[in-house]
């Protein structure tokens, strides 16, 4: 249990006739960046609220950092940092005021508050404008300040809802680096709620996909590709004048389901295969046919492909 930052069994929450979270069972390992994917209304936000003990469950069990949030809510929330969908900042106050108040609320040692606030403002590129009212900030600055507040008390578990929403590419990269850093170097767990599948693919070791309150898949992107039965694809770089010969050489291999050839300057042959043993078979066949192969590049099924396949399988979004 100790190695699990989050563990739920049969977690259920209803609002009237609507079941927002339906029999959710998942585990998130300590130090993992876990992606929680789903369309609007899929149950992501309700799950985060249940995991933080701000909503009570109608059924099931939850352990978060070794506690039951339903009974130990304050203890759980003292060790979690939450970035909500909206920045939820007091816009009439300065950034320093916003952070100082939350440092007190999260019990940052009194003697460390000023130093911690200044350091986190520096980290998130807001130090020069820390004394300005937040109402005058751009959307990206507000997002960075909300992120700074989530990181301020050095939580063991971070819940980040669309952390790079509104950020420019440079700031996005910095946030990604920070998420990787806190996970890999500091052993903190990150629960990433997002629609941004590229971001999830870059950051998350494992993802769960939610549809209408139910978890329809969980695992590494590779596992999920396997679960949806997606074929593997490999691109082979070959000599420009040999695409015809290459196509003829591999099309007889049983485990190669399709072949696409590109006759551009950098000639390529893309094989869709049902078994990875097709790769050495294809290389042997190409070698026998005298085709020169310069590189074999595996094409990972994108998370977007997986997500869309799962989504369509469930009958579409609300």
């Amino acid at each position: 249990m100790a190695s699990h930052a989050i563990e739920t069994h049969g977690l259920t929450r209803r609002f009237g006739a609507t079941t927002a979270v339906d029999d959710l069972s998942l585990t998130v390992e300590t130090g993992e960046v876990f992606g929680f994917l789903g369309h609007n209304g899929a149950g992501k936000t309700t799950t985060v609220r249940l995991l933080n003990g701000v909503l009570a469950a109608d059924g099931g069990q939850i352990r978060v950092l070794g506690h039951d949030p339903a009974t130990d809510g304050p203890q759980v929330r003292a060790r979690t940092g939450v970035l909500t969908e909206t920045p939820s900042l007091d816009e009439r106050l300065t950034a320093i005021d916003n952070l100082t108040i939350y440092a007190d609320l999260y019990g940052v040692p009194t003697g460390q508050v000023n130093g911690r606030v200044n350091a986190i403002l520096e980290t998130f590129g807001l130090a020069e404008r820390g004394r300005e009212k937040v109402g005058g900030y751009s959307k990206g600055m507000k997002q960075r300040l909300a992120l700074a507040r989530a990181f301020l008390h050095e939580p063991d578990l971070l819940f980040l809802d669309e952390p790079t929403s509104g950020l420019d590419p440079v700031a996005t990269q910095e946030v990604h680096d920070m998420i990787r850093h806190v996970s890999r170097e500091e052993g903190r767990t990150v629960f990433l709620c997002t629609h941004n599948l590229v971001e999830a693919q870059r950051l998350c070791k494992r993802v769960a996909v939610m549809e209408h309150g139910q978890m329809v898949a969980v695992g590494t992107p590779h596992d999920l590709a396997h679960q949806i039965g997606a074929d593997m694809r490999y691109t082979l770089e070959i000599a420009p004048d040999q695409t015809g010969a290459a196509r003829d050489a591999v099309k007889a291999i049983a485990t190669v389901s399709s072949v696409e050839a590109s006759d551009a300057e950098d000639a390529e042959l893309t094989l869709t295969v049902s078994d990875r043993e097709a790769v050495p078979d294809a290389l042997a066949a190409l070698g026998a046919a005298g085709v020169r192969v310069y590189a074999v590049i595996p094409q990972q099924t994108s998370l977007e492909d997986i997500y869309m396949a799962l989504h369509q399988r469930k009958g579409g979004a609300s």
Binding site: R77, T84, L89, L93, I101, Y102, D104, L105, Y106
Partner: protein, 277 residues
């Protein structure tokens, strides 16, 4: 009880209020008019009034119902004065103003609570607060303390300003301090905190049903009705401001405020708040 967190929320709420013109204007203007401008103008006019002027006679005639039913203790007090202007001055500042004065702690607590409860919901800042490690009780207590302390503080500071202005402007007429007695002390120390409590309690009741500061402010305004009843009852000669009236008024306001605050505590759960966000 995590008092550091409670203090942080109180500090936040009061800081936020001080930065809002929509909230600050009524908080400044109403006390300024009731406790500074009106007493100053009234004091100056009365200090310079002719005891034999027809206006004084008119005031006595128009307020006949009030003067005819005066209790003996107040009548005895008025008999100590030499002329009608002094008696009218005493009556206006000691019997009419206390009811108006009570509007202040009630209104101040009411407006700040509207901003603290409904305003926070409107500004979408409540969600981050709900995710903090505070308990429901700490969160609720913190939300009560800020408006209540502000209501009591404005009431007390307002009384000091009122007493100084009335004394200064009427000194030539009255020759001393005449707005400080047992009834006033009870009003300040017993009724004022209760009045702030009722302003707060009404807002606790209202805030769960509205989603904006303006809605809360307008609905919560009904809380001044009991105070206005006291004022009109006094003008009509039904009730007179005295230590006993202050004691009873305070007890009634405390009881209503406690009922509202306890009811609010029972319904104040972060889960319910979150579900409504």
């Amino acid at each position: 009880m995590n008092w550091r967190a409670v203090r942080a929320i109180v500090r936040k709420d009061l800081k936020v209020v001080l930065k809002s013109r929509a909230v600050l204007i009524p908080l400044i203007m109403v006390p300024l008019i009731i406790l500074v401008i009106l007493p100053a103008v009234g004091g100056v006019l009365l200090a310079n009034a002719n005891p034999n002027s027809p206006e004084i006679a008119d005031f006595r005639r128009e307020s006949a119902m009030f003067f005819d039913n005066l209790p003996g203790t107040i009548g005895d007090r008025l008999d100590q004065y030499d002329n009608e202007v002094q008696r009218v001055t005493y009556v206006i500042f000691n019997l009419f103003f206390p009811s108006m004065y009570l509007l202040l702690p009630t209104m101040v607590a009411n407006v700040i609570a509207a901003d603290s409860f409904a305003g926070e919901k409107e500004r979408k800042t409540l969600e981050a607060l709900i995710y903090t490690p505070t308990t429901d009780r700490e969160l609720y207590l913190a939300k009560l303390i800020g408006p209540w302390v502000a209501g009591v503080a404005v009431g007390w500071l307002g009384y000091i300003a009122f007493a100084l202005i009335v004394t200064a402007t009427t000194w030539p007429l009255m020759g001393g301090v005449f707005v400080l007695d047992l009834a006033w002390l009870l009003l300040i120390l017993w009724v004022t905190p209760a009045a702030a409590g009722i302003g707060l309690g009404a807002m606790v009741l209202v805030s769960s049903r509205v989603s904006t500061f303006q809605e809360a402010y307008q609905l919560g305004g009904v809380v001044v009705i009991p105070v206005l009843l006291l004022l009109f009852g006094q003008i009509g000669g039904v009730v007179y401001f005295s230590p006993l009236v202050a004691l009873i008024t305070g007890a009634i306001l405390w009881a209503i405020a406690l009922v509202l605050v306890v009811y609010g505590a029972r319904t104040f759960h972060r889960g319910e708040l979150m579900a409504r966000l």
